[in-house]
Structure formats: structure tokens, C-alpha cells
């Protein structure tokens, strides 16, 4: 079973989703939770069986799909993707368990199960086309979730989300086709296998163009400034579960793809574009943090804060050294946990008051102390308090990038200031002061169903903040391999000097081939 665990992980929820049509409406939630729990257990088993000392791909599967065009169904996980997969399974589980939408619950749960398939598919695909399939397919359930259960502008928001990301990924697709073509030119066979592509050394000019093509797709997904404007709408209109999964998992696809594709395939271009991207990342960090500060809707605050944090992830990724990339991968997980939790928390109050405007609240700490406490923990994690999960990632990301540029890191570090400003202000507006609105006086505190979702997240937030090693170590091993690959593949002097040589042993050139 372990040989095919990734396929099982991908298709089990999809199959269960199809079967879900047969389940009675009243029992569908129990069904959803059960399926998601099994899936989560399987993902934990994957972790258990995962050998964290191996830096390469594990649990590889390879089935020919369209061999004449080089498309194969190749799966595999390494330390970089492993934890995002687990996170996806985890969030689907608690998302279904804490679901508060009652309208068309059955459709929602089936959609979520399909979404889970696509998410896990993206992170375990090792063939560019398979990756692309899941990448695009993930838009569809999300489109439905936002569009059917969202707020008043839900259709605008969902269509915008869909088309924007779709447009970006099409450019990426052209890039992939070019990449496959270059591989074909170099070797005479078509291949979309990422591991094959890793062996291809492209001239710098090609790298720059391909990097740009991939960048468009990834940047919109992340989303990077100035492509981020779909995100506030999507989050603002999406139902709680939609926002949670969007923030926790879907955004990570972009940053993950940077590490999976852009860096190892185009090391020279990565170095070339490092500064421009770092500048964009810094704009993301500061600009969106300031915009977040100006928001009146608490969900928008969290939404913009996501963009801000994604900036740090991007920065860490383009540190191009082990510390930075490890940090950014860890921060992906951290941000997933924390922003997911924050969106759940916003959902809690939205369910009670049906508004997300901060001016409608105030003094909630009096009436909902438990809620305030959990919100506070997540708030502190969000602002990067040490011993919470976010800090580890942010610290390592910034630390990593510091090697590349001092000034830019200093600017990026403003994140910890501006982040605190908008988060604390929002918290103050919502929780502090006297209770001013009568509707708020008798709000019930978080109930059991909500705690089921929130308590585990709080525990993870602290646990991985204090003891990140079980996660950090596998990530580190895989990242080292990636950095080493980049170092070996880089052709320009600058890239050689920017990308550290991890092991100090240069892999012989025989395993790499030169493209024309």
C-alpha cells in the first residue's frame, strides 16, 4: 500500500466525493469528517513512513500517461512537499468538522473533498503537466465555494479569482511547453518530468524568459504585488471554509512552485531576478501591511496580512541559501496554520453577528474571553512572536536573505513592525474597550465545534514554535539538495557565488546535459 500511498492520498477523497452523492443529506457531515479523518490519518502515515534522512523524492510512482508526448503520471514527496500535504489533509478535516454553512451542505462537503484531491495532487506531482492539471483543477472547487456560499459580491470575487489565476497559469503552461521543447531538443525525447528537467542546463538567456513565464503563473497565485488584488475580494466574499483553505493551502501552491520549478530549473535567472523579486516582496510586505491597517473589515485585515506574509515567504525563497529556503518552506506551513486559524476565528464572530466590520465590535474580550484568548494567540503568532510557529519561518527567511542583501532585509524586516501595527490595532478595535453595541452583550463564547478546529491549531502553533525540529529537519535535507543542485547547475559567475555550495562536492558534469 505504501508504494501507492500518494495515489491513494490523491484519489481517495475524490472517490469518496463521488460516492458522497449517494449519502443522505443529514449524514453527509459525518461522512465528510470520516473521510477527511481517514485521509488525514493516511497523510500522517505518510509522514511516519517518510525517511527524513533522504533528501530526494520518496514514494515515487510512475505510470505512463502520454508517453509519446513525454507526459507521465509521476508522483513523489520530499521534505518540501510532505508537510504541505499533511496540512492540506488536516485543514480539510477540521474545515469539514467545524463547518457552519448549512445551505447545501452536501454540495459543500463533496466540493471540499474534490478540492482536497487537487491540493494533494499539486504538491505530490512530479510531472509538470500532472502538476498543471491539479493546479488548474483546484480553481474549480474554489470557484464554486466562493461563488455559491460567499457574500454579496461573491460572483464577482469568484470569477475574478478564477480568471486571474487561470490567465497567469496559462502563461506558465506556455513556459512548460517551451521547457519540454528544450528538453526535446537536448535529448531527442519529450519529457515533462520535473526530475528530468532538473538535469537540463539552459543558457542564461533562455532561463530568463522561461523564468518570467513561470513567474507570471506563480506570482498571481501567491499572490505577489501587483497581482494581488483578487485576494482581498476572494477572501472578503468567501465563506469561512473557503478563506481558510485558500489562505492555508492554495496560496502555498505559488510559493511551493517557485521552489519546485523556478529555483532548480533556472538558477541563473533566479539570481538575476533576485533583487527585483526581493523588491516586489518588500513592497508586498510593507504596502499590503499598510493597506491592511486601513481596512474596516477584519477579514480584509487578515486577507491583506496574508499577502504581507507571503512577501516574507518569497523573500526567503529568493535568499537562495539553505537557511532562507528552509525558512520559507517552514513559513508556508506556519502561515497556513496561522492564517487558517485566523480566518476560522473571523468566521466564529461572523456566524454570530453576520458582520465583519470592526466598528461593530469592541469589548469582545469581556463577553467572549476564550475567543479573545485564542485570537490573541493567533494574533501573536501572526506578528511573529518567538516560540510560535511563524517566528521560526520568518526568522529563517529573513536570516537567509540577509546574506544576499543587508539593506533589503532591513526593509523587509519592517514587516515585524507594520505587522504588529495592523494586527494589534485590529485586535484592540475588536476586543478591547467597553462593549458598546447591545447585540454584542450576550454573544456566546466559542462552542465545542469551533474548539475542535481551533484547539489543535493553537497547539500546533505553539508546538512547532517551540520544537520545529521534526518538520524543519526533513525540509532542511531536501532544501540542501535543491540548493546543491542549483549551485551545480548555475553557469554564471554571479550565480555560483550567490548560491552556496552545500556539500562542497561538485557532482560530475556527466549527469547533466547541455542544451543548445
Amino acid at each position: 500500500m505504501l508504494d501507492h500511498i500518494l495515489s491513494i492520498l490523491i484519489f481517495f477523497p475524490a472517490l469518496a466525493g463521488v460516492m458522497g452523492f449517494m449519502i443522505d443529506k443529514g449524514s453527509i457531515r459525518a461522512y465528510g469528517v470520516a473521510v477527511a479523518f481517514v485521509e488525514f490519518a493516511l497523510s500522517l502515515w505518510l509522514w511516519f513512513a517518510f525517511d527524513s534522512n533522504v533528501s530526494g523524492m520518496q514514494f515515487m510512482e510512475n505510470i505512463a500517461l502520454i508517453p509519446s508526448f513525454g507526459i507521465n503520471y509521476i508522483l513523489g514527496v520530499d521534505g518540501i512537499s510532505l508537510f504541505i500535504i499533511i496540512l492540506a489533509a488536516f485543514f480539510t478535516m477540521i474545515g469539514i468538522a467545524s463547518l457552519t454553512e448549512t445551505k447545501n451542505e452536501k454540495n459543500m462537503i463533496i466540493t471540499l473533498l474534490f478540492l482536497e484531491m487537487t491540493m494533494i495532487g499539486v504538491f505530490s506531482a512530479l510531472d509538470a503537466i500532472v502538476f498543471y492539471v491539479f493546479w488548474e483543477l483546484s480553481l474549480v472547487p474554489m470557484l464554486y465555494i466562493i461563488g455559491a456560499w460567499g457574500g454579496p459580491m461573491r460572483i464577482y470575487a469568484s470569477v475574478k479569482f478564477f480568471l486571474y489565476t487561470f490567465a497567469g497559469s496559462l502563461v506558465m503552461l506556455v513556459g512548460m511547453l517551451f521547457m519540454a521543447y528544450f528538453f526535446y531538443q537536448a535529448t531527442g525525447t519529450w519529457s515533462f518530468a520535473i526530475l528530468d528537467w532538473y538535469r537540463l542546463i539552459l543558457p542564461e538567456s533562455f532561463q530568463l524568459w522561461l523564468f518570467a513565464a513561470f513567474f507570471v503563473g506563480f506570482a498571481i497565485k501567491v499572490p505577489m504585488f501587483p497581482f494581488h488584488t483578487w485576494l482581498p475580494y476572494a477572501h472578503g466574499q468567501a465563506p469561512t471554509i473557503g478563506s481558510v483553505i485558500l489562505a492555508a493551502i492554495l496560496l502555498k501552491m505559488g510559493t511551493y512552485a517557485f521552489i519546485r520549478f523556478s529555483l532548480p530549473l533556472f538558477p541563473d535567472a533566479s539570481v538575476f531576478f533576485m533583487y527585483p523579486i526581493a523588491v516586489i516582496a518588500i513592497i508586498m510586505i510593507i504596502y499590503t501591511a499598510m493597506v491592511a491597517y486601513a481596512q474596516k473589515d477584519v477579514k480584509q485585515v487578515v486577507a491583506y496580512s496574508s499577502v504581507s506574509h507571503m512577501g516574507v515567504i518569497i523573500l526567503g525563497t529568493f535568499a537562495l541559501n539553505v537557511e532562507g529556503i528552509t525558512g520559507s518552506v517552514f513559513l508556508m506551513i506556519a502561515h497556513g496554520v496561522v492564517s487558517g486559524a485566523l480566518f476560522l476565528l473571523v468566521g466564529v464572530i461572523y456566524d454570530r453577528r453576520h458582520t465583519k466590520l470592526m466598528s461593530e465590535f469592541g469589548g469582545l474580550a469581556h463577553v467572549m474571553p476564550r475567543y479573545a484568548t485564542i485570537f490573541g494567540i493567533m494574533l501573536m503568532a501572526s506578528v511573529g512572536m518567538p516560540l510560535t510557529i511563524n517566528f521560526v519561518g520568518e526568522f529563517l527567511s529573513l536570516l537567509g536573505f540577509y546574506e544576499q542583501s543587508h539593506i533589503l532585509t532591513l526593509l523587509a524586516g519592517i514587516a515585524i513592525v507594520v505587522g504588529a501595527i495592523y494586527m494589534l490595532t485590529a485586535y484592540k478595535k475588536m476586543f478591547f474597550g467597553e462593549v458598546t453595541k447591545d447585540e454584542n452583550r450576550n454573544l456566546p463564547d466559542v462552542n465545542k465545534r469551533e474548539l475542535i478546529a481551533l484547539i489543535p491549531l493553537a497547539i500546533i502553533t505553539i508546538w512547532l514554535g517551540v520544537y520545529p525540529k521534526p518538520v524543519l529537519e526533513p525540509i532542511n535535507n531536501s532544501v540542501e539538495a535543491v540548493v546543491q543542485l542549483m549551485h551545480n547547475k548555475s553557469t554564471t559567475e554571479e550565480a555560483k557565488s550567490r548560491i552556496p555550495n552545500v556539500s562542497g562536492v561538485v557532482i560530475s558534469k556527466t549527469s547533466t546535459r547541455e542544451a543548445h
Binding site: 541559501n321 528552509t326 484568548t373 501573536m380 524586516g413 513592525v417 504588529a420
Partner: protein, 638 residues
């Protein structure tokens, strides 16, 4: 010894978590008691460790577990008990034990009683991490942790707008400094390859001075925030909105001294960059004077003490900057005792006066609050540096150090500030405890605090009086790690003159304060000449710095944020929507091409053909006459 280390470190955590269990339940007396006991056990462990170190025992160094390890970076949870940290541990645990016990009484009627202890103990835990960590990352954990707890405790009464505002202000200002600290840490890592003190500091000796200077500056920026040095000082006065025990523990004795601790801990670094040290010393001296000047006119009891704290922190930085690390540390310790005492006394007064803070509305309280009066007077004497109280030994040594290092400006400023300190301290004492009982106008019936609170304070009183005798053993203890030198003024005569002169100067200031305020009888209403003088207004408004921050930083930030949001909607997003709507409106505008009329449709076909045809003809002609065209073009010089 490791056992004691762990007890000292984790007893506060246990206490915090235990208290946190009851945060949402009504007040439970036992929470306070158990918390106090646990903190006390930490104190006992610290004492054991202190004796161990004093006995010349080995430095206790443990590595609990790995925290972060990636690439070349390796950060463990490592703790070290050496001469510096054990001093800090003693200060922290002692003051916090007292504050915990005191708080049982002080927070008696507060419904957030349990929550208070959770936060307070959490603070102690963070502070212990801060001082005990054996690396910069651990230090940073504590550093941020105390910031967090400070946030929670300043804003403890979260229904008060000012309190939560002050909490956020403190947090954010500290964050600005923390950024500097973080950059400093990155510098350390990328230049020395480690964040462990025992690896990083020795490695620094081989670095070039520019790098070290940056390192020193950035780390000091971190220290500036935590220790509320100019220009990041405004939060400290505002932080007085928190409960008074918090002010005593966090904003007087421990957290604000973390910056000093950092500089002392990094003495090996700052020894290599004396120019930065001089800057630190100068800034310290400036802040000492600057803060003292603001304390002169303030009418808020706690703020006066807060400014005094600020001023004393300036002294500590002055000492540390001049390389007199052990003096700074000693003053830190002594200051913790008497300043905590002063704050707790102020807390008693506040309780008695139903949270009234204006000393002009008090007066004559010594009759009803004898114990508090004595304690605050002695604490003020210690603060003023009167022999034989603690402040004399610590503060005068700083003056001596400045003198001996030939930094006469710094010396002069510090000396003058000593006079100011004495003046405003006793202005406060005089206004509160002497003169007419002005509080009667406001119908307040003051009473003395619980006895156990006074008893709890007594160790501080004791230490404020006698801490001076520890100077020599302390020096001997820290000597080996701080590489300290004793500051010998050239001759005993000079020394004597200096000492006596200082004492007399300070004494005169005290007398002047008493004379002016001991028989004060009215509540100023802002109409007197002095209150309308420029200097008074300048000082009373804290040099208009908070105003300036509000006007030139906060408001522009708000406006810029709002403007950026507009930009986000109306430029960035609108351009995306614009591209989409270009296509859509192109469709709308050209759909009439499909008029549904067969004639039009046929015309489109014919027109299309004709256009293509003419293109073909042009191309055909061009191809046929290409030779001629070429020659014409070349004739034209193209």
C-alpha cells in the same frame, strides 16, 4: 546544579500555565498564593545558583534541546548561569516574588485576578529566558516574550482606552527596536557563523571594525527600545496605565533593564568598538538629564517615577558605554530594589487615594500611611544616592567611572542629573506625605495597605538600604567575566572631595524640594506664572515629542495607509479590471458588426476578400518590381 537552573527557569512557566487555567473563572485566592510560591521557588533556586557561583563554582551551562537547525545555523535552547545572568536572575526572581505577593493584595478586588497572575508569571518566565539564554536567539525569545507580557499587562485593564493604546504603543515601539536587534543578530550570524555567545564573541575579535560597528549599533537599537532610550522612550511613561505592580516589576526593575543587560552581555563586542560605546554613554547621559527634566514638573506620580527610571537607565547606559559594565550591572541591581520599592509604595498610595495620581491632590498622607511613607522616603533617598543607601554605591561609582575615564561632559551631566533626581524625588515625597491634607477636598478617605503587602515590600526596603555592602563581593564575582577594572581616582583626596561634593549637592536639592513642597497647600490650576512659562510647558508636554510622534508619524501613517488602500482599489485593482473590461466592452461595442442583416453579412465577406486581395496585389507588385523598388530606395538613401 542543572536541577536548580531548570527550577528557576520553569517554575514561572508552571505558575503561568497554572494561573492561565483559571483565567475565565472568578477570582481565586489560591491562584495568587500558588503563583507566588512557585516564583519564590525560582528565587530560591536562583539563590542556590548564586551561592554556587559565589563559591567559585563552575558556570552552569545546559543545552536542553535543539530549537532550529538548518543549513549552517544551529540554535539550541541553551541556558547558562554565569556571573552576569545569575545577578539578573536574582534581581528578577526576587523582585518578582515580592511583586507577586504584593499583587495578591493589590489586585484583591480585581475580577481579572487570575489572569493577572498568568501574565505576570509569564513575564517572569520570559525574563528568565532572556537573561539565562546562552545565545542571541534565545535572548530574542525572551526579548519578545517580555514585550508580549508587557503588552498584556499594560493593557490589563483592557476596557480602558488609554491602557490598550499604551499597550499597543509599547509593543510597536519595541518592535521597531526589535527590528534593529534582529538585524544585529543576522549580522552576528553571517559574520561569526553562530549565535552562541561562547562562539560568536570570541570570533568577533577577528572581524573588521566596520562590521563590528554595525553589529554594535543594531544590537544597541534593540536595547534602546527595550530600555526606552531616546527617541523610543515615550512608551514607558504611557505604560504607567498598567497596574502598579506591573510598573514595579516590568517598567522599573526588570524588563526595561534588558537593554542594559544586552550591552553588558555583549561587552566583548563593545570593548572592540569604543566609539560606539562612547555614543551609548553619551546617549545615556543625555537621556538621564532629559528624563529627569521631564520628571521635574510632571503631575502624575507614576509618570514621575517612570521618568526617574528612564533617567536611571541613562546612567546605566552611560556606565556600560564607558566600559564600566560591572558598574552598570550593579546599578541595575540596586536600582531594581529601590525603584521597585518606590513603585510599590506608589501603588499603596494609589490604593489609598482611589487611583488618584496627582500628588498635588494628596498631601499629609504620612499620618495615615506611615509604613509607606518610610519606605518611599528611604527608596527616594536611595534613588538620590544618599549615603549609605544603595544608590550611593552604585550611582557614585558611575560618576567616578565617568570622571576616571575623563569624560567630563558626561560626568557633569550625570552629576547635575543627580541633583535633579534628588529634587524631583523629594518633590514627590513632600507633596504626597507632607503638607496639608489636600485630598480631603476630594472626599477621599485613605487607608494603609494590607500588612502583608508591606511585609512583602520589606525585603526591598532592606536591600535598598544595605545593597551597598554587596559592592565588593559583587565586583569580585563579575570581575572575571566582565574583565572589569576598579575605577581609581588619582588620589583619595579627589575622591573624597567628589563624594562629599556630590552628597552635598544632592542634599541641597533634597532640602530645596522639601522647602518648596513640604508645605504645599493648594492644587495648581494652571494659572500660576511658572505653569505658563515656556520651559514648564515644554517639560510638561515632554518636549512635545509625543505630540510630534502623533502629528508627524502616526497621522501620516494613517493617512498614507488610507491613501494606499485607495491606490490598491483605484489603481492596482482598477487596472486589472480595466484589462478585463477592455475585452468586455470591445465585445459590447463591436457586436453590432453582427447586425443580423444578410446584406451586411455578405458585405463583410466581400470586404474581407477585397482587403486580402488588395494586400495580395500590393505584395505581388512589390515582388514583381522588387528590383526597381530597391534601386529607388537606395537612390533615396534608405
Amino acid at each position: 546544579m542543572e536541577k536548580y537552573l531548570y527550577i528557576a527557569l520553569f517554575a514561572p512557566l508552571v505558575s503561568s500555565m497554572f494561573s492561565a487555567l483559571f483565567t475565565n473563572t472568578p477570582k481565586k485566592q489560591f491562584v495568587g498564593i500558588i503563583a507566588s510560591l512557585l516564583i519564590f521557588s525560582a528565587f530560591v533556586s536562583s539563590s542556590i545558583l548564586l551561592t554556587h557561583i559565589l563559591d567559585g563554582g563552575d558556570i552552569v551551562h545546559v543545552e536542553m534541546m535543539t530549537w532550529m537547525a538548518t543549513g549552517n545555523l544551529y540554535i539550541p535552547f541553551g541556558f547558562v548561569v554565569d556571573q552576569i545572568s545569575v545577578t539578573m536572575m536574582m534581581v528578577v526572581t526576587l523582585v518578582s516574588t515580592i511583586v507577586h505577593i504584593y499583587s495578591i493584595g493589590y489586585m484583591d478586588h480585581d475580577k481579572g485576578f487570575n489572569r493577572f497572575f498568568a501574565w505576570l508569571s509569564a513575564f517572569v518566565f520570559s525574563m528568565m529566558i532572556l537573561v539565562m539564554s546562552d545565545n542571541f536567539a534565545g535572548l530574542f525569545i525572551g526579548w519578545e516574550g517580555v514585550g508580549l507580557c508587557s503588552w498584556g499587562l499594560i493593557g490589563f485593564w483592557f476596557h480602558k482606552e488609554v491602557a490598550t493604546w499604551a499597550a499597543n504603543e509599547a509593543f510597536i515601539m519595541n518592535r521597531i527596536a526589535d527590528l534593529g536587534m534582529l538585524i544585529g543578530i543576522f549580522l552576528v550570524y553571517w559574520n561569526t557563523g553562530s549565535l552562541q555567545y561562547d562562539i560568536a564573541f570570541p570570533a568577533m575579535a577577528h572581524l573588521d571594525s566596520a562590521t563590528l560597528t554595525w553589529m554594535g549599533i543594531f544590537l544597541f537599537i534593540g536595547a534602546m527600545g527595550k530600555s526606552a532610550q531616546f527617541p523610543l522612550h515615550t512608551w514607558l511613561a504611557d505604560a504607567m496605565e498598567g497596574p502598579t505592580p506591573v510598573s514595579a516589576l516590568i517598567h522599573a526593575a526588570t524588563m526595561v533593564t534588558a537593554g542594559v543587560y544586552l550591552v553588558i552581555r555583549s561587552n566583548e563586542l563593545y570593548d572592540l568598538i569604543p566609539h560606539v560605546g562612547l555614543f551609548i554613554a553619551s546617549l545615556g547621559a543625555f537621556v538621564a538629564l532629559f528624563a529627569a527634566s521631564m520628571a521635574l514638573v510632571n503631575r502624575d506620580m507614576k509618570r514621575i517615577i517612570a521618568y526617574s527610571t528612564l533617567s536611571q537607565l541613562g546612567y546605566m547606559f552611560a556606565a556600560a558605554g564607558l566600559g564600566a559594565y560591572w558598574v552598570a550591572l550593579f546599578h541595575l541591581m540596586a536600582h531594581a530594589f529601590f525603584k521597585a520599592l518606590l513603585f510599590l509604595g506608589a501603588g499603596n498610595v494609589m490604593h489609598a487615594m482611589h487611583d488618584e495620581l496627582d500628588p498635588f491632590k494628596m498631601g499629609g498622607l504620612k499620618k495615615v500611611m506611615k509604613g509607606t511613607w518610610i519606605m518611599m522616603t528611604i527608596a527616594s533617598l536611595a534613588l538620590a544616592g544618599i549615603f549609605p543607601f544603595a544608590g550611593f554605591f552604585s550611582k557614585d561609582t558611575i560618576l567616578e567611572a565617568a570622571f576616571a575615564e575623563h569624560h567630563m561632559v558626561i560626568y557633569g551631566v550625570l552629576l547635575f542629573t543627580a541633583g535633579l533626581t534628588a529634587f524631583y524625588s523629594f518633590r514627590l515625597v513632600a507633596l504626597i506625605f507632607h503638607g496639608e491634607e489636600r485630598y480631603k477636598i476630594f472626599g477621599i478617605h485613605p487607608h494603609e495597605a494590607y500588612k502583608f503587602m508591606l511585609i512583602a515590600m520589606s525585603p526591598l526596603l532592606f536591600l535598598a538600604m544595605i545593597a551597598g555592602i554587596f559592592q565588593t563581593p559583587f565586583f569580585e564575582m563579575v570581575e572575571e567575566i566582565l574583565g572589569a577594572t576598579e575605577y581609581h581616582i588619582h588620589s583619595h583626596a579627589t575622591l573624597l572631595i567628589m563624594l562629599v561634593g556630590t552628597q552635598m549637592f544632592v542634599g541641597l536639592a533634597i532640602l530645596y524640594a522639601y522647602k518648596k513642597y513640604a508645605s504645599w497647600s493648594s492644587v495648581p490650576d494652571g494659572s500660576s506664572v511658572i505653569e505658563n512659562s515656556f520651559i514648564y510647558k515644554l517639560l510638561y508636554n515632554q518636549y512635545y515629542i509625543p505630540y510630534g510622534y502623533e502629528e508627524y508619524i502616526v497621522k501620516p501613517y494613517n493617512e498614507l495607509s488610507a491613501a494606499l488602500w485607495e491606490v490598491d482599489k483605484k489603481v492596482v485593482d482598477a487596472s486589472v479590471d480595466g484589462i478585463a473590461s477592455i475585452f468586455y466592452s470591445a465585445g459590447e461595442n463591436t457586436r453590432d458588426m453582427q447586425s443580423g442583416n444578410l446584406s451586411t453579412m455578405l458585405k463583410w465577406m466581400v470586404v474581407g476578400t477585397v482587403v486580402l486581395l488588395s494586400l495580395a496585389v500590393v505584395f505581388g507588385l512589390a515582388a514583381r518590381y522588387s528590383g526597381e523598388i530597391m534601386s529607388i530606395l537606395s537612390g533615396l538613401g534608405v
